[in-house]
Symmetry: C2
Subunit: 256 residues, 2 copies
DNA sequence: TTGGGCAAAATGGTCCTACCATTTGCGCCG
DNA sequence: CGGCGCAAATGGTAGGACCATTTTGCCCAA
């Protein structure tokens, strides 16, 4: 508490001033010296603290914003705010990857099946009774929603997403959550295909509910079997719409 | 071929000029209008094509560089070059995530074991005979390297990385390669712990070689068992260095 | 007293201009 | 013929001015 106005930033320099600035700010964030939701000094202030031009500051902030660490607002009370979350903008990286390589849907399905199988095991082993009950409730709500003649596509997508994330959360492993979060954007559009096809819709919904119950009942083999069935259906469904959707958007970047 | 000097970029826009510029360039890259290794116009040229100031151009380029789409060089013949690679800066995202949440190493181990098990199955099923032979050769070279009294840490790290990526490549699924690529940075530092401990070193090397042979012999159960053993050792090794390294760097960002 | 609207201040967004640093390549000189 | 250095191209930085947006609060009117 000796110095209330700790410098926090050193005058930086080395030809790559902007990178230096970015590194210092990032370090301050990761070290916790800048808490989430906290506001950084204004550009004109930092320009003096760093002893550099405003352009360098702006480029550093732009990079950190792109990196997902900052949130920049205009107007008085504006400025750079430290972003709280972490999982964000990962999905964007995967979306970019999918766009550049236009990877076939089956590869995505395959990967997700692998993750889901492990996830089910971990969820059974570590999920609390409440979490398991909640998962079953969600799955049954999902089932009810899909049984309707006119399912609300938005709601279906949301419930499906929540189900997957709930399952990932029960595994008590942040990496799985991270990957799941990243994958959501990329494959949700394919999952929708499953729900759009009436023939698969009911079976898929019932299967989800059965899977949730198997997890709640601590029956790993049954859960694995049901998950396998889910993806078998998804593969079949995708096979049916072979070259039908030649150039579907696949993923939609939302730059909010 | 009607217009040799296709405009390629529209003059744009008010308010969010830099974002607009970034979007146009990104779109041009993803649409293939800008090929990898191709060089964009100089900042001073683009500043005219876009009808904007140079600062806006620079901020856009900075964002795209951070995004992993561009590579910027100085001097004459310098400028912005479209990056060829695909796996881009995913690893950086994960490294950031690990730093922010300081996730325990065991979570990482757990996830990678899950991925590796699937990877081995896919490699057996899809890997060509040449690829399998190559994997065995690499594993044996790795083993030889680790048997030395004074293993070259750099070389060990490189070989370990190449082994993992080779395995991922044999799965013929870009997503697995993508994830593996992402995990390398965050994980390698822990793997090194295994190789630094003499007691585990030889066993680990031999185990890698055995695993490669099991894959080459199309023996999935044996491969699975060996992989399990690898991670059992890694867990034990990590357990031994419990709170010893309280605040180790874990991952080191290299902004080359 | 209270409500609404307007003005001022803070702050990011942009443009401009000049200059510095680095890299490449060409031409000059030995 | 060859090496060395200078000039041009280009990104990197500095500083200043102005615009756009948003918040705050003041002032006037009902």
């Amino acid at each position: 508490m000796t110095t209330a106005t700790e410098p926090l930033f050193f005058p930086a320099k080395a030809g790559r001033a902007s990178e230096d600035v970015a590194l210092q700010i990032e370090a301050a964030i990761l070290a916790g010296r800048l808490a989430p939701e906290e506001r950084l000094p204004s550009e004109r202030e930092m320009q003096q603290q760093f002893g550099t031009g405003r352009g360098a500051i702006r480029e550093a902030l732009r990079a950190l914003k792109q990196k997902g660490l900052l949130d920049i607002r205009k107007g008085v009370k504006g400025g750079a705010y430290v972003r709280k979350v972490g999982m964000i903008n990962i999905g964007e990286s995967l979306a970019l990857f999918l766009k550049q390589h236009d990877v076939e849907p089956l590869a995505l399905v395959e990967f997700r099946e692998s993750v889901d199988q492990t996830l089910a095991l971990l969820a059974i082993a570590r999920g609390s009774a409440e979490a398991k009950a909640s998962l079953v409730a969600m799955a049954e709500e999902f089932e009810a929603c899909l049984r309707q003649d006119e399912p609300d596509a938005d709601r279906v997508g949301h419930l499906d997403r929540d189900l997957n994330l709930a399952l990932a959360g029960m595994a008590a492993n942040p990496i799985f959550e991270w990957v799941m979060q990243a994958l959501q954007r990329g494959f949700s559009s394919h999952d929708y295909a499953l729900y759009d096809t009436p023939r698969y819709r009911e079976r898929t919904a019932a299967n989800w509910a059965d899977t949730a119950r198997a997890i709640a009942d601590n029956d790993p083999m049954r859960a694995a079997s049901l998950i396998g069935y889910h993806y078998a259906m998804l593969r079949a469904c995708l096979a049916e719409r072979t070259v039908n959707t030649v150039n579907s958007p696949l993923v939609s970047p939302d730059d909010s």
